[in-house]
């Protein structure tokens, strides 16, 4: 069944969209990721214009992160104060990202920017996760191995503007969380992702937040930043396709439920290694596209 997307102005198979939403939903349920980093490239592959793909996937992330945020709010695993500080940075970053995005769009380099961002971030994150989970598996096979001690005091704790974050049990400067927020906001606007895959490691290793509040707090930030980014894309570019978003949502919601159930049966290390491989796979595909001579050197853009 073909469905015509009013903003993207293309006709695509409705079941294909439901399928993409479903696969990404399964992954987000399985691994606890937003799945934006997969939706956007998949939408490129099926012929959705990049600008529409990026803007619409932010709208899709709003839905999935709000859904998960409600669960975390119920469990009281959200640090609202830290979330708000991250959010302030995120809004600044998102606005910056939109400016950069629109400038490069006028130069015709937006596809390159998006692809490069994907290759770099997915490559680095995927490799780090792969190595870390391999080490974790090796350690779990050798019981009794000493766990590495995390440094409690590093440069992050010597910056000014200190603030108390009661839920996280931290007393640190607001500069690092704001910077983390800005970085994530820029990525949300340019790559059409939530940025959880950057923010979660940054919160654990850079800010030293306790693991149990990290996911909820990042979801809090992601919900608002992606909502803001969706608004900016809708107002400045008119590239949010509501029909496309709804199709992806329906598939995603159902997929997420299956993913969550599958995730229960698997070990955390195995899950992480699978996710790392998946991230590296997407990265590799995009890198090949950049490195191999394209069959069609020319492309048409609006002027």
């Amino acid at each position: 069944m073909q469905i015509y997307l009013p903003i993207a102005e293309v006709s695509v198979n409705a079941f294909l969209l439901l399928g993409i939403g479903g696969i990404v939903g399964i992954l987000s349920g399985l691994f606890g990721v937003g799945g934006g980093f997969l939706i956007t490239p998949l939408l490129f592959f099926i012929g959705i214009p990049p600008a529409v793909a990026v803007a619409t996937s932010t709208n899709q992330i709003v839905a999935s992160s709000v859904s998960a945020l409600f669960a975390h709010l119920k469990r009281k695993t959200v640090d609202m104060v830290m979330g708000t500080v991250l959010l302030i940075g995120g809004l600044i970053g998102s606005a910056l990202g939109i400016v950069v995005f629109n400038y490069l769009r006028s130069l015709g380099q937006v596809d390159l920017l998006v692809q490069l961002c994907y290759v770099i971030f997915l490559g680095v994150i995927g490799a780090l996760m792969f190595v870390e989970s391999l080490n974790a598996i090796r350690k779990s096979r050798r019981p009794g191995g000493a766990r590495p001690q995390r440094r409690k005091h590093h440069w992050v704790h010597n910056l000014p503007f200190k603030m108390k974050f009661r839920v996280s049990g931290l007393y640190i400067s607001v500069i690092p969380p704001v910077m983390v927020g800005v970085a994530v906001g820029v990525l949300a606007a340019i790559m059409g992702v939530g940025g959880g895959f950057i923010m979660v490691p940054a919160m654990i290793y850079l800010l030293g937040m306790p693991t149990k509040v990290v996911i909820g707090t990042s979801l809090f930030q992601i919900s608002f930043v992606t909502a803001f980014t969706t608004m900016l894309h809708a107002v400045t570019n008119q590239t949010v396709d509501i029909v496309l978003a709804v199709m992806l949502l329906v598939g995603g919601v159902i997929g997420a439920q299956f993913g969550t159930r599958m995730g229960v049966k698997m070990k955390a290390e195995q899950l992480r290694i699978l996710l790392a491989l998946l991230v590296l796979l997407v990265c590799g595909k995009l890198a090949i596209d950049l490195l191999v001579r394209p069959t069609e050197l020319y492309s048409i853009g609006a002027s």
């Binding site: 009013p6 006709s11 919601v253």
Partner: protein
């Protein structure tokens, strides 16, 4: 000289007496939510008061053109090992869709001079002036090649059925990735490649219903549209988790 001119006039007169009478299978195209391309049947007859001239061959050319828009054609080149867009050429006006169907080989039914005057073949309908790059024709060719690959530019030589030099018909298939606007259908009647009659009619292509409403809302009231998208997303996210929560119990 004068005699030759008179001869020409005499020969030309019966030809000018041939007129096009046209019919369309649909006088507008509506893009609905399930729009998956469309087919337009264009048919008609040659009206004449005199007998069919024997000496010259009759040709029928039918073209359908979408709205003209400026486009930028970019070319990738290898820089630092990766392929990035480097050169760009602005094409002043290129139709978003263009199909041309003929009753015979293009060179037989249309002379170059007439093509130049009436802008019938695809290279003639693309207007590109003042390109700063030496090999700018390559960019126009690329534009045609890409759009032809997407089914947006079609050359259908011999696709017009011409019966007894009087009745003609062809069908033009419109792909699903159509741009809205007024599509001009032009029908040319030629004798030995000379245009003797031209008929133009407009086929409006527009989104209807929900598609139209969403598109105009997104462009005219972007803030409201954005808020609506968010509201739907939030409601769906919350509704889904609530619904599955109930199911699991």
């Amino acid at each position: 000289m004068i005699r030759l001119l008179v001869l020409f006039l005499v020969l030309a007169l019966p030809a000018q007496a041939e007129k096009i009478v046209l019919g369309l299978s649909q006088d507008q195209v509506s893009i609905t939510a399930t729009f998956n391309g469309s087919e337009i049947l264009i048919f008609g007859a040659v009206k004449r008061e005199t007998p069919i001239p024997e000496a010259e061959t009759l040709g029928v050319i039918i073209s359908v053109a979408g709205p003209d828009t400026p486009v930028t054609v970019r070319r990738k080149d290898r820089r630092l090992g990766i392929w990035i867009n480097t050169d760009a050429v602005e094409v002043d006006a290129a139709p978003s869709f263009y199909a041309v169907a003929t009753s015979g080989p293009m060179k037989d039914v249309l002379r170059d001079v007439e093509d130049l005057r009436h802008r019938v073949t695809i290279p003639r309908v693309i207007r590109s002036v003042g390109a700063a790059i030496d090999d700018s024709p390559l960019f126009s060719q690329a534009l045609v090649r890409i759009r032809a690959g997407e089914g947006l530019y079609q050359v259908l030589e011999g696709a017009v059925d011409l019966e007894q030099e009087t009745l003609f018909r062809t069908s033009i298939s419109l792909p699903s990735n159509l741009t809205e606007g007024d599509y001009a259908a032009r029908i040319f009647l030629t004798r030995d490649g000379q245009v003797i009659d031209e008929y133009v009619t407009i086929i409006p292509v527009q989104k209807v219903g929900l598609e139209q409403w969403l598109y105009s809302l997104a462009h005219e009231n972007a803030l409201l549209y954005g808020l609506m998208s968010l509201a739907i997303a939030i409601a769906a996210g919350w509704g889904a988790s609530a619904a599955f929560g109930l199911l699991r119990r």
